[in-house]
């Protein structure tokens, strides 16, 4: 490469960068100053911390166009899978308040990881700018329809080791299983190494494992087709679409310690699927997002659309959700110790 061409190259490159940077700045200034709305007319990244196709992805993709309409923004769903949602959640925690980025969170998982002090947690859930809760996703224990356990009472009374199937330590299905065992004192073994929730459930259907814990909406299909039976949900109120499924609070633990752990578990499970923005968002921007969120989630069309997919919404406003999160994170040392066992 000759000297002249090299210079020319550099000049062209520099100019292009400059133009791009100027264009970017220009856009920001215009929108911010004129409308007083930070997100209007802008691109807003809606981050899903998992691959396309899962429950979080479904919620995000359903919500995105309505949120976009309410905010007047172009909401773009972006999958950032990795480390069981920790990677994207860390990125959101590190994003500056100027970044137009929101994220749907597996709050049960991330809060558990934070409480347990697990590796890879570089965020504090309470520091996020909380927009609200999209839906609850309490864990449900499912057993084979013709298996040896036919009710949760059977499981509690079981002398034999109850074998749960799970993908790996730290997953929601692992946490739910080991906390339930700690509360009610039945012996368990968590068999890990399955490639996904589906595979784990298949092992239960085939009778190779006894039970599998997963969010109630993911177990709905198999329950309705009669493959498995949902024997308990880790919540204090019944699930609307599975009215016959007993709630965990119907089963009173024998020990006082168990009772306290149960309360903590139920609180944790109500966190469900949250929606957060980077920490330190200025008040008016957070208010704008929260308003947009409430506007979108009260849209009848969205509700109908999600109902059709059997993924109903269960909204908590930003303030309510922030309060709930605060109380869950401030948990008892005993519960924290139980959670630590799952990582």
């Amino acid at each position: 490469m000759s000297h002249r061409s090299m210079t020319a190259l550099r000049r062209t490159g520099g100019a292009a960068v400059l133009v791009a940077a100027l264009a970017a700045c220009g856009q920001n200034a215009d929108a911010g100053a004129e409308a007083g709305k930070y997100y209007e007319g802008e691109n807003l990244d809606f981050v899903v911390p998992y691959d396309a196709g899962g429950g979080y992805d479904v919620y995000a993709r359903a919500l995105a166009p309505y949120l976009g309409e309410c905010l007047g923004a172009e909401v773009v769903v972006r999958n950032e899978p990795g480390a069981g949602s920790l990677l994207a959640t860390n990125s959101t925690a590190n994003a500056g308040p100027d970044e137009r980025r929101i994220q749907i969170t597996n709050s049960v998982g991330t809060a558990s990881a934070q409480i347990a002090g697990a590796d890879g947690v570089m965020f504090d859930m309470s520091e996020f700018s909380i927009i609200g809760r999209v839906a609850t996703a309490p864990d449900t224990v499912a057993v084979a329809s013709d298996g040896r356990l036919s009710s949760f009472q059977d499981m509690i009374d079981s002398e034999e080791t109850v074998r749960f199937a799970a993908t790996g330590p730290g997953s929601n299905e692992y946490i739910a299983a080991s906390v339930l065992s700690a509360i009610y004192g039945f012996p368990i073994e968590v068999v890990t190494g399955f490639g996904g929730s589906g595979e784990a459930r298949l092992a239960v259907i085939a009778g190779n494992a006894d039970a599998h814990a997963s969010t109630w909406d993911s177990v709905l299909g198999p329950v309705e087709s009669g493959e498995v039976e949902a024997i308990v949900v880790a919540s204090d109120e019944p699930v609307e679409l599975l009215p016959d499924m007993p709630v965990v609070t119907d089963f009173v633990p024998e020990t006082d310690e168990g009772k306290e752990l149960l309360d903590d578990l139920v609180d944790l499970e109500t966190l469900g699927r949250g929606l957060v923005a980077p920490p330190g968002l200025p008040e008016e921007r957070l208010a704008e997002l929260r308003e947009g969120f409430e506007c979108a989630t009260s849209n009848e069309e969205l509700i109908a659309e999600l109902d059709q997919q059997q993924r109903p919404i269960d909204v908590l406003t930003g303030d309510e959700y922030a309060e709930l999160l605060e109380s869950v994170l401030d948990t008892s040392p005993e519960f924290a110790a139980v959670l630590e066992e799952s990582f």
């Binding site: 490469m1 000759s2 000297h3 061409s5 020319a8 190259l9 062209t12 490159g13 292009a16 960068v17 791009a20 940077a21 970017a24 990244d45 172009e74 773009v76 972006r78």
Partner: protein, 190 residues
């Protein structure tokens, strides 16, 4: 390309250099240096990984220890075999096989016979592209790279280079930003 290249003294024109002198004399079988070095590097890598795996519990460490242990054994075995083979005289058949093996234009041939300058230049262009992708993002680097590479490396006309770059940008923008709304590398400034 008129300026003298500082790296090597050769004045080979652009593109594939004539066969380098090194692998040519085949009268006697030479030590397969590259294979031995690569095997030793891999052996070191496996050994290091084996060492790391010793810290893990039996369950988590079982597979890693098996794999890396096997890796160390195989690489060392390979080195031993290569050294032994190098000491025995070469059968005639092998030489013939090697000779007709690399048809001109084959990937192997190109890689083996491209000059140091061609390598350096190509790698520099690739590095420039990916660094640019990281720093300024796809929508800037794609047309920019197309323009500069075509104009200054391939030496196509300005008109063609600009048209190619413009088309690149248009297709990318329409497909990824307008139609699919898929995320692309944004660069550091956006």
């Amino acid at each position: 390309m008129t300026t003298p290249e500082p790296r090597t003294g050769t004045t080979v024109p652009a593109g594939t250099a004539p066969p380098a002198p090194a692998p040519e004399p085949r009268a006697r079988r030479q030590l397969p240096t590259a294979d031995i070095v690569l095997s030793l590097v891999l052996a070191a890598l496996f050994a290091n990984a084996f060492w790391t795996a010793m810290e893990w519990s039996v369950k988590a460490g079982l597979f890693p220890r098996m794999v890396t242990g096997l890796g160390v054994l195989l690489t060392l075995l390979h080195v031993a075999v290569l050294l032994l083979k190098a000491r025995t005289p070469v059968p005639v058949v092998e030489k013939r096989v090697d000779a007709d093996d690399e048809a001109e234009g084959d990937v192997e041939y190109v890689f083996a016979h491209a000059g140091g300058r061609a390598w350096a230049r190509s790698l520099a262009w690739i590095a420039a592209f990916f660094v640019g992708l990281y720093v300024v993002g796809l929508f800037v680097i794609a047309p920019l790279f197309a323009l500069t590479y075509l104009r200054f490396s391939v030496r196509t006309s300005w008109v063609f280079s600009v048209a190619y770059a413009a088309a690149t940008f248009a297709v990318l923008y329409l497909a990824f930003e307008v139609a699919l709304q898929l995320p692309v590398p944004p660069g550091l400034f956006l």
